[in-house]
Every structure is written in structure tokens, then in C-alpha cells.
Amino acid sequence: MPPKLCQLCNETRAVLKRPKTGQHICRECFYYVFETEIHNTIMEANLFSPGDRVAIGASGGKDSTVLAYVMKVLNERYNYGLDLHLLSIDEGIRGYRDDSLETVKRNQQQYDMPLKILSYEELYGWSMDRIVEQVGRKNNCTFCGVFRRQALDRGAANIGVDHILTGHNADDIAETVLMNIMRGDIARLGRCTLITTQGEDTIKRSKPFKYVYEKEIVMYAYFKKLDYFSTECIYSPDAYRGHARTFLKDLEASRPSAIIDIIHSGEAFEVRQEVKAKAKAQTTCKRCGYMSSNELCKACSLLEGLERGMGGLAVVRGRCRGLDVAEMKQKDR
């Protein structure tokens, strides 16, 4: 049987079947469509202005490694004029994060980008290992997720960048849409498909891989032989998200377009005005100045619970050991 020709260029032998479209394509065409689609996403959302200082949230995993690589390629190819940085958060998970940070350090050399590493220990006085020691493995993902979000903002403020890019891919977003519908989280459902989010006091945050399939990221990293860390976190994954993820994988197996179809659905609807009107107004945390819908932000509440030895209970009293975002911005100025 003659080899299949690439369905895009009709010249070269196809080496892969594209998960997103089902087309048989060659390696060069795969690079072309992968990079051009990300560029299209960036241009459509008008993500950058020349001279922007942009931090890439780097964990050493496949998504952030490919993101750093592709951003460097696109920045040079299309003259975005960006000043790119790597920003890593050390959650303090021995045997996992310390190894992945070594990958990030190698990426720094390979991509020639400045790297900043911030740890939970220095920001909050707690490492994830110590948190798990106290709260167990059941809810530790809640702590990690809340702390990381703030840590990235604080790190970005620390190095004076205007914009953080994260490696969230299409699978992550589709999964979040399903999860927010299932748990009735209207506020998050309304914003989870936005490519860029920004609170009053927070730094702009974007997801250039919004329409990129996880499988294609793995393929790209594989063909380009990128150096990434592929071990899963040693602490148990988020059970609720795991539930949605398994379901999504089943849907994708039935019809590969399911991932993009779910994102399209999430983009096609919005929260009704009367529901929005009833939602709690966004304010700032009285302790650390971070955006919050309560007196204390989620991170400060969780920290308070930890300091009082109450595990996962978010107690709304006490002292915040986190750095003040406003204070850090002041220092930068």
C-alpha cells in the first residue's frame, strides 16, 4: 500500500493523525498548524502590545515547557516585541517539585529567559509537605490551587511583569466547564472560557493554549524533543476534577471534537443578568489586599486554619503571613 500523503501539503508522507481534526498530516504541516493556530488565538484576542513584560508560569511540565518554547518562536517570528520571563512556584513537594524545578532551570538555559522561583515557604510560611502532614491528602489540592494562584500574582509583581501566561490547554478548559456546571459554580462558569482574566488588583492572566488539545501538546513536545518533566504530582489528584476528566476522556474517545465543542458551548452562553445582579460584589482581603468576595481571601482563611491546627477549616480570623500585593507593587515603583 502506498504511503498516505499529508492532507495539507499533498507532498510529504503523513506521520500522524491530528487528534483535533482527524487529518493525516506530515511533521512540518503539524508544526505549521500548531503554531499558526496559537498565533491566531493570540491575534484574535489582541493579547499583547510591543514592549510588554510577560511571565510564563513554568512548572517544568509539558504544557508550560511547550508554551515557553512556542512563545519564544512566535515572538521572534511575528515580532511581538515581548520581554519573556519564566516564573516558577516551589510548592515544597519533595520528590516532585524539586525534580521538576531542575527541568525549569534547564529550560531557562535552553530558551535564554530570566527565571524567578518563589516558594510557598517564603510566601506563606508553609510548604505543601507540611500542609499534607497536617490536613492529610484529601483536600490538599484546594490549598495548593489557592496558594499557587496568589503566588503567581505575587511573583509577577515581584519581577515587575504586566502579564502572566499559563499553560492551560483545551482539555483543562473543557473539563472546567463541565465541572462548574456540575457543581453549580455560576461565577466561575461565566469566566472559565475567557482567554484573559484580570481582577482590579491582580495581574492580567492569559491562556494562549485555550484551543490546543493536550494530545497535540504531547505530540509537539515529542517531535521537537523538548525537555520536560512528566511525573504526576505525588499527592492525590483533585477527586472532583478527576471525575470530570474521566468523563471528558470518554467523550473525546467517542468524538474527538467534544473538547472543542464543550469550549464552544462555554463561550456561547453567559450568566443571566438577574443572576449576576444577585452575585456577591468583589472586594479586597483585609489582611493581604488580594481580591476576595469575603473579608478575608481564601488563602488567608486557609492559612488561618492551618495556624490554628484546624486543618481544612477556613477560619475567618487571625493573621496573614502572605506578602501584600499592594506593598510589593509599591516597592517595585
Partner: protein, 461 residues
């Protein structure tokens, strides 16, 4: 335990949710059923179900929602969709016992009928599985249901009728010329030529040409809905009732979202088509409650014609949601509550076009969006013109996102067939559109292939 006399039998209790005690409502009788951690006796359970049913229907009966609720009067007849499943049989019983008998409190109150005539419509799916005898038997069982409800009139239609112009016009449809479409091209070019006139052949060709089993299920659902609305219009009905339970509605909503139908989440819950209001009065009643109602009422449930061989998105969603319903019932109701709080994004002030297949509104800019996020051709024009628009002779531009995906989205294992992709379209689609150096140079193949992408890599020569 006897299968003949339901009153002598008891359903096996779930040890997890079994709660001893008296009924939460009357506080005197012994509890027989636990619903979301509340125990009810049999009598209170029935009044609870009837209350929810009436709450889900009566506010929508009068044409003017502001008119007084004390006098219920519909502007036309009533059509009830009967699939043979638990929900539709229970709904028929509730309608009959609440509004059509003089013995019921509401029946006495409304001596003048709310609807002049009540019809039940059964869509025969035997053409989907011509080899299965039980599909044919279901029609007979459905006919026998009518004996229990003498005041309702029954109409039966075959699913392949959607390709039958004679049937369509004889049941009040406009005289139309059918057309065909070529699925090979993702823009879906269509022509007015008809391949053949036999409805069964057209129907079977249509199903067999679809790219995925998800598309087959979605098309069958779409055809059933089209027949129901068409017959409701023919019978001059103002209301079309579906027996969708809370659990089934959650399945429908997640299925709709998973197939890109976020723009139609509202229509999935309630919609008005050709002046007919489509209502799901059991949307607050879980599948478990519907099952208990049918069981304790001694209803004869023939069972739905549900495809067992297909494993598309709807079947997977169904398995997932029914699993959740067993262990996390509040998650199932959270899905419907969440979806009730969202609406289609209004991107422009132009009146939305109707999809030629499902007749739901088409969102603006779908072509451009699809071409931007997934490049399917390597031509300069795509980069130069990201705001792509399909040709005017393509069906693609007259379809909503889910219908376009149904006809064009390929399977993960097989590509779209390269021949035999021209098929007839259902009769109503031909009507005029309605307004409404970082990299190593070594060969990557020598490196171990990550498991996640293994099946997508083509073998070397």
C-alpha cells in the same frame, strides 16, 4: 415477590439511603421512600409528585402568563410525546388523572376542559433497527396503553417519514422539493437533486453515512423532535409535553453542551416552535421518583426503543449522569439549576437565522471561529483572512454549530468515508431559510512514544 401484582411487591431498598421513621409531611404514617434525605409515606409521595407536576405545567398553560391562574385555558389542543419510557407513561397518567377525569380535584374544578382534545404521538423507530422484532412489538404495546386512557387520541408516525414528502404534505406540511448534501466537504455543499424517493432507503442511507455514532443518536433525536412538532402543529396543539425527568433533562443538557450546543441551553429546557410551547412538566422530578410513581400506580411501561449498540456521547452522558443520580443526586439537580441560570450570548442585534435542520437559532461567526481554531487547509488565504465565510451554496452556513458538527465531525479511529457521502436531507430542510535551535536534530521516532499519542502516530513505510 410477584411481577404480576405490583402492590404486593416491594422494590429492593438501598441500604445507603434507607432512613427509618415517619413521613416528613403528614408525620403520622410510616415512611416508604427516601427522596434526597427526606422520608415520605406513599400517600404524601403521590401528592408531592402531583404538586411538582402541576408546578411544572400550569404556569405555562394560559397563553397570557399574567392572566389569573384560577382559570386554566389553553389556546389549542394538547400533544403528548409517548416514547414508551417511564417518564412519558407516568406523564400520560398524571395528565389523565389530574385534568381528564371528573374524580380528580382539578378535573372537578375545571369542568370545562383545559384542552379541547388530547393527542398522544408515538414515533416508531423500527426503521432504525429493522432486524429487531421487539422494536415492532413496541408499537402494539403502545396501542394497548390507549385502552387505559380512552379520552385521548393516538397518532403513530414512523421515523423515516421525515424523508416522505407525501406524508409530510398529508399531515399539513408545505409542498417541498427535497434536496441532497455531500458530507465529504466540510462546507457541506447541497443541491436540489434527489437521489431516490424511498423514505426508508433515504433514512437508512442518511444514518449509515453519518461519521460517528454520536451523530446517529443526535439525528434520531432531531427527527423525533421534528415529527412531534410537525404533528403537534397539524393537530392544532398549543402545547407539546415531554416526559423528561430531572435526570433525563440533566443528561440532555450535558449532552447538548458536549456537542457544542451551549447556544441552545435554554431551548433544551423550554422552547416555542411554530407557536407550540414545548414543556417538560417532570423536569423537577428525578428518575427514581418517576419510577416509584409508575411502580406504585401499577402502570404498564412498555420501555423505550433505546439503541443498545451505539456508544456515542449521549449514551456515555446517560451512563455518567445515572451513575451520579445513584450516589450524588444533588449534583444532578445542580446541573439543571446551573443551566437555568445561563442564556445565549447576544453577540449582535441581527435577528438570528434558524438552523435548517433543528430550527434553533444560529450563532454568528461560527465558520470563522472553526477555521481559526483548527486549520484544515494550508493556504495563504487562511492567514490573510481569518474571518472566513463558507460559500453561499453550502448547507454549512445554514446550520447551527451542533448540527454542522453532527454532519462533519470525524471519528477518532476512522476518517470520513471518501465515497458514498451524498445523501438526501429531511423534507423541511429545503424550505427557504427563516429569519429568526532549541531542538535536537536526531530522529524523534527513536525516542519512546508517549502512550497518550501512540494511536495517532502513523506507522513508518
Amino acid at each position: 415477590m410477584s411481577c404480576e401484582d405490583p402492590s404486593s411487591a416491594r422494590m429492593i431498598r438501598s441500604p445507603k439511603h434507607l432512613q427509618k421513621g415517619t413521613c416528613i409531611k403528614c408525620k403520622t404514617s410510616k415512611g416508604k421512600i427516601t427522596i434526597r434525605h427526606a422520608v415520605y409515606c406513599k400517600e404524601c409521595f403521590f401528592s408531592f409528585i402531583r404538586l411538582k407536576f402541576r408546578r411544572g405545567l400550569e404556569p405555562y398553560i394560559n397563553a397570557d402568563p399574567l392572566s389569573s391562574r384560577t382559570k386554566l385555558k389553553a389556546s389549542g389542543n394538547l400533544t403528548l410525546a409517548l416514547s414508551g419510557g417511564m417518564g412519558s407513561v407516568a406523564l400520560l397518567d398524571l395528565i389523565y388523572s389530574t385534568y381528564l377525569t371528573d374524580t380528580s380535584p382539578v378535573g372537578r374544578m375545571h369542568r370545562q376542559k383545559i384542552w379541547p382534545q388530547v393527542y398522544i404521538v408515538f414515533v416508531d423507530l423500527s426503521a432504525v433497527y429493522p432486524e429487531k422484532d421487539e422494536m415492532r412489538d413496541l408499537g402494539t404495546q403502545i396501542q394497548s396503553l390507549k385502552q387505559r386512557y380512552p379520552e385521548v387520541e393516538m397518532i403513530s408516525a414512523r421515523i423515516e417519514s421525515v424523508f416522505d414528502r407525501d406524508w409530510w404534505t398529508s399531515t399539513g406540511g408545505s409542498n417541498v422539493d427535497s434536496s441532497s448534501v455531500d458530507l465529504k466537504d466540510s462546507d457541506l455543499p447541497f443541491s436540489s437533486s434527489l437521489l431516490h424517493d424511498d423514505p426508508v432507503a433515504s433514512f437508512q442511507k442518511y444514518l449509515s453515512s453519518l461519521p460517528t455514532s454520536t451523530s446517529i443518536t443526535a439525528s434520531i433525536d432531531l427527527f423525533i423532535r421534528a415529527i412531534l412538532v410537525h404533528l403537534a402543529s397539524w393537530t392544532r396543539s398549543s402545547h407539546l409535553l415531554m416526559g423528561t425527568s430531572l435526570t433525563s433533562l440533566s443528561v440532555g443538557l450535558i449532552n447538548c453542551v458536549s456537542q457544542g450546543g451551549g447556544y441552545h441551553v435554554h431551548e433544551e429546557q423550554e422552547e416555542v416552535l411554530d407557536g407550540i410551547r414545548i414543556i417538560r412538566p417532570l423536569r423537577d422530578t428525578s428518575a427514581k421518583e418517576v419510577a416509584y410513581y409508575a411502580w406504585w400506580s401499577g402502570l404498564d411501561v412498555p420501555g423505550r426503543q433505546r439503541p443498545t449498540t451505539l456508544s456515542g456521547i449521549k449514551e456515555q452522558t446517560r451512563a455518567f449522569i445515572f451513575g451520579l443520580d445513584r450516589h450524588y443526586p444533588s449534583t444532578v439537580s445542580a446541573i439543571t439549576k446551573t443551566c437555568a441560570k445561563v442564556e445565549a450570548k447576544s453577540s449582535s442585534e441581527i435577528v438570528a437565522q434558524q438552523c435548517r435542520l433543528c430550527r434553533r437559532p444560529i450563532q454568528d461567526g461560527i465558520d470563522a471561529w472553526k477555521h481559526r481554531i483548527a486549520i484544515r487547509e494550508r493556504s495563504a488565504t487562511l492567514e490573510e483572512n481569518p474571518h472566513f465565510e463558507a460559500s453561499s451554496s453550502s448547507l454549512g452556513r445554514h446550520l447551527c454549530y451542533p448540527c454542522h458538527t453532527t454532519l462533519s465531525s470525524p471519528n477518532s479511529r476512522t476518517s470520513m468515508a471518501t465515497s458514498n457521502t451524498i445523501l438526501n436531507l429531511p423534507v423541511w430542510t429545503s424550505l427557504t431559510p427563516r429569519s429568526s535551535s532549541l531542538v535536537s536534530n536526531s530522529d524523534p521516532i527513536s525516542a519512546p512514544i508517549p502512550q497518550a499519542i501512540e494511536e495517532f502516530l502513523l506507522p513508518a513505510e
